[in-house]
């Protein structure tokens, strides 16, 4: 009885949700027509950070893995496309595909080493592997431009203008978000959440825990690479800070802020943080202070994030492991 009610509810709510998304997408598509250039650029940055945070959340919120250094995949995606566009004559489309692929490959290699461990040890191991990648990029002047980074990347003219890069980012992130949504709601995604909630029991019923975690690493790294490629189309440059640990922590904050047990939470978190940085950053150079205070209040009072908090009052609550603790 309860089940039937909830599916009926789910059907009507899915319709409403679809409608709401169509409206949002339509609004986002129309934005460049009436918003000033700066805000279009800001929106593109929000979409990219949101995509990156969502890809992080695949591993962090849904997989329960302490993804401490997710920015590495973002940065590698950005560097791959920049280097291929600048130093080879291959068709640009190939470079754009190569970014996510190389990121996924790195995710596979790092995942192979990291998934042997779990929780804090997993995070620490990923942190050390990621910092090795970062320091190599930081130092390899002849190939990556060292600490200066690569500037003036020749992005194809169709997507290099403010509006062009915005539409490219919008379409790509919608497709990527849809793909992640499908993956997370497939049997694979369900098993992943089962592993998060109880790895021992999952193993007991015959789930290959480490294999699922490894695949998750590759998926998360792939979409982070997509976000990295989009970053290059918007900014036209890549620099070592894209792989820095503090950026990784910032992405984790986005997930936490929006709600890391919800699908769209990280996007919301990214919107809050990127706007905060850009808008408060105009008035004061101490915008990180505001971020820190928000973060502290969040940890004290809203550990499930903004969306997670409101979801608690929705009629069909999604199960969140934070309540188990």
């Amino acid at each position: 009885m309860v089940k039937r009610l909830s599916t009926r509810y789910a059907k009507s709510s899915a319709l409403k949700l679809l409608l709401a998304f169509s409206v949002v997408i339509l609004l986002l598509a129309l934005c460049p027509q009436f918003l000033p250039r700066f805000f279009v650029y800001l929106l593109a940055l929000i979409l990219i950070s949101g995509l990156q945070a969502t890809s992080l959340n695949v591993a962090l919120g849904y997989g329960g893995m302490y993804q401490f250094h997710h920015a590495v995949f973002f940065g590698i995606g950005a560097y791959t496309v920049s280097i291929m566009l600048m130093k080879t004559n291959l068709p640009p489309a190939l470079s754009f595909l190569a970014g996510p692929m190389v990121a996924a490959l790195l995710g596979f290699i790092m995942g192979l080493i990291c998934v042997r461990l779990s929780k804090l040890y997993f995070g620490m191991l990923q942190l050390s592997l990621g910092s090795l990648v970062w320091i190599v990029v930081f130092r390899w002047y002849s190939f990556t431009g060292g600490d200066d980074g690569l500037h003036g990347v020749p992005v194809p003219s169709l997507i290099s203008s403010v509006n062009g890069s915005y539409y490219f980012a919008l379409i790509t992130s919608i497709v990527a978000l849809f793909m992640m949504y499908v993956i997370l709601n497939s049997p694979f995604g369900r098993i992943l959440q089962a592993i998060r909630d109880n790895p021992e029991r999952s193993e007991g019923v015959g789930v290959r825990v480490k294999l699922h975690q490894l695949v998750t690493q590759v998926i998360a790294a792939f979409f982070a690479g997509v976000a990295g490629v989009l970053f290059v189309t918007v900014e036209g440059s890549a620099f070592p800070d894209l792989l820095s640990w503090t950026l990784s922590l910032e992405f984790i904050i986005m997930c936490l802020l929006g709600g890391w047990f919800t699908f769209l939470g990280p996007m919301l978190g990214a919107a809050i943080i990127v706007s905060l940085r850009t808008l408060v950053g105009v008035y004061t150079e101490y915008w990180t202070f505001a971020l820190a205070v928000i973060l502290m209040l969040l940890i004290f009072f809203l550990p499930e994030g903004v969306l997670g908090y409101f979801q608690r009052f929705s009629p069909v609550p999604e199960h969140s492991p934070a309540e188990d603790k």
Binding site: L132, S244, I252, I299
Partner: protein
């Protein structure tokens, strides 16, 4: 550059000693981090900020007291104490409410602290570089096997073992050290026998942060004091703690040796990539021993 002629025995020894003095700083900072991680289970990202704060305070106190060497020694003494006081306030005010949270939350919370400390330092000291000269006794350099070696680094080489001994004495021989080690293993049991665990945690946290401040104060005369010091040191300290084994103070020593020496020896082999060597060493260690070289406390 021809490698076979550029590496001489003297150069090797010189780099070894420079690496050892860097190791001293790394050990002091990362042992504090390890202590906090081992007993309180807080991955304290703000540890590097306390190191930076120690360096800036040392600079300010020393320049306030004048250029005399007495001022310098007082600064080395006072700066870590001020850092310890700050950390006591933070622990009693904020952390003691959060001990039962997940590691990820604690990590992000300390990251928020790191951002705040970073902004405070920016507001108080501005963004330009500061430098502090060592007291007259340790100015200049003396020659070891024909190679110049800064006298101040010799002082650092002596400070390292002193701190290591003090830590050993504190954790193995004193009552609070014994209680802290017990609390690291099973805090509920320690509380059950009637010990106020909260205050044990507070003292361990303060000692750990004192070490961060001490590291910062000691490093002040050897490099530019600037913002961003916190970012580099916290990364290195974390890696050292990871390869040493979480919470193991001797692991921190071992890790600091590996990290400090590979960096300084790397300069002889491949100067451009010298900084890459310690990171590569960390990864190699972790591929074979993912939980660190020595036994973690938890």
């Amino acid at each position: 550059m021809d490698f076979s002629t550029s590496i001489t025995l003297n150069g090797l020894i010189q780099q070894f000693l420079i690496g050892l003095s860097r190791t001293t700083i790394l050990f002091i900072v990362s042992s504090g981090l390890s202590l906090v991680l081992g007993v309180l289970r807080i991955p304290n990202v703000a540890h590097g900020s306390l190191y930076m704060l120690g360096a800036f305070l040392c600079y300010t106190i020393a320049s306030f007291l004048g250029a005399s060497s007495l001022g310098f020694w007082l600064a080395i003494l006072l700066a870590p104490l001020v850092v310890a006081l700050v950390s006591l306030a933070v622990e009693r005010g904020l952390f003691c409410h959060l001990y039962d949270r997940e590691h990820l939350m604690l990590l992000l919370f300390t990251f928020a602290l790191m951002l705040i400390f970073g902004d405070v330092v920016k507001a108080v000291w501005g963004s330009e570089y500061r430098s502090l000269s060592p007291p007259e006794v340790f100015q200049g350099s003396l020659s070891i096997l024909g190679m110049p070696f800064p006298k101040y680094n010799l002082f650092l080489l002596c400070a390292g073992p002193v701190v290591a001994f003090a830590l050993w004495f504190l954790t193995q021989k004193t009552k609070i050290g014994k209680i802290a080690r017990a609390a690291a293993v099973d805090r509920d049991m320690v509380a059950a026998v009637g010990i106020n665990v909260s205050w044990v945690f507070a003292s361990v946290f303060v000692i750990g942060c004192y070490l961060a401040g001490l590291g910062g104060a000691l490093v002040a005369p050897t490099q530019n004091i600037s913002q961003g010091m916190d970012h580099t040191i916290i990364m290195e300290a974390f890696l050292i703690v990871i390869i040493g084994g979480l919470g193991n103070v001797w692991g921190a020593l071992l890790g600091a040796l590996i990290f400090g020496l590979t960096a300084s020896m790397g300069i002889l082999v491949w100067p451009q990539f010298s900084i890459v060597f310690p990171y590569a060493a960390v990864v190699i260690v972790l591929v074979f021993r993912p939980k660190g070289l020595l036994k973690a406390t938890w």
